[in-house]
Amino acid sequence: MIVRCEQVSKCFGEKLAVDALDLAVEKGQCYGLLGPNGAGKTTALKMIYGVTPPSAGRVLVFDQDITTHTREIRARLGVTLQENALIEALSPVENLRVFGRYHLLSPAEIERRIEQLLDFLELRSHAKLPVKALSGGFQRRLAIALSLMNGPELLILDEPTTGLDPAVRLALWNRVRELRRAGTTVLLTTHYMEEAERLCDGLVVMDQGRVVARGAPRALIHEVLAPETLELELPAGRHAAVLARLDGVRSLRSGAHLLLYAADATALLDTVRTSEPAAQLVAVRPTNLEDVFLALTGTKLEGGA
């Protein structure tokens, strides 16, 4: 087991930021912590890489207790923080060298890793420019390169793609997939549902410090809702009548918007239309984690895709 959290909690004064978190990440997995801002995702990560001591519970990384083996464990993992912490006056290469020193790598090893990472994250064209001259996408890639300097067995990414444009995001997802193929375990937080669906084999959905659901993305969608979603527009007053005729169909209402979840949304549309010809079809689409999150917490994810 790469990461195991046993009933891990964290209080900041009166506020319970993480409430009895149980987590098990196996070797080679990509595991996601999902939730809106303030759900406790970053605090959970900080307890896992040993920068914040848990108020209760136990965190094991590589089967060792993080509170007693902090240095050994951190030597084997990499963390990309939510906010880039780069030395802006220095170039990417110089930043990577400084980070290599933090890991006590030999100068030869540092240069070897830098060569690999400049290619892997496509930084070579800007390798010698000061960081402050680089675009947000470049800076993010450099931040990820820093966390890979020590060739980590576990890569922790705290909202890796927040604020990046879609092309850069896609490119980063591909890098994560490649790392996984090479055997790296990945633990990430995100509030992009699409990111979690595409990358993660397993995830927990967190809300206000608590885990509200867990499982593989598709399984979670099937379990909580249904594979397909029918989005309709219909006067709010008619919603109850429609739902009354549909036994056991999960739904979500928001103004004139009615979302229905089913194994076969097209068939469901026909059923609804027979009694409600005025119902306007918005979309028939696969159910996504955004729907799951909405169903579980009743709140939208800020900044969600």
Partner: protein, 263 residues
Amino acid sequence: MTPRLAWRSPVSLRYALAVWWRNFAMYRRSWQLNILPNFFEPLLYLVSMGIGVGAYISEMGGTSYLAFLAPGLVAVAAMNGASFEVTYNAFIRLNFEKTYESMLTTPIQPEDVLAGEVLWAITRATIYGGAFLIVIAAWGLVAPLHALFAFPLVPLAGLLFAAIGIAFALRIPNIELFSFYFTLFLTPLFLFSDVFFPLKERLDPVWFPVAEALPLLHPVRLMRHAFRGELDLVLLWDLAYVLGLSAVLLWVATRVIRARLRG
């Protein structure tokens, strides 16, 4: 279940040096810009006060005024060299650049960060104080042998002001407060710590304990004795003060940086 004790880790010199190296890599980039103002400041005082004002002073403390000023200004150069590093720069690294946060994703621990920052401040104190000492020796204001005695006092003064500065920087909530530190703390020290005149000759003895509390007084007194090649019992007190206050403040700073970085 309460792992509190385990969260204190002993300082590792190797990781502290990695922190030191980070600052060195930055400094190497811009040292030409940094070194000039820092280097010329004490030199300007020495020329203006030593030669200008000194022309009207036949002697002070048994030497020419120029020779009186020199040791104190070396201590001041060390004080200034250390102070900028552990105040503004450390505050920015802690609060704005998130440098320490990123260090703590590696095996580096808060104790190593503190040790690295202090070592770096001592290094800068030694660069500025040392360079100034060399100029003074070349000028003939100190005998070469006595300059050798004086040299280790430069990093010692650096240590003291690194400890004072970092303990302050870690506790203040707002970067504006450093103007108090520089204007209301370092400047009075500069003006009243035996650098420009023998403080105690101008004081009623009831104030002597207050004078002895001034941190800069002790490196200056040590430096002056080294310049003259004299030993005195009071130097033991000076040494004890510098090492003792540094140790206490670094102990405080260790506790604060642990709390700050391990929220």
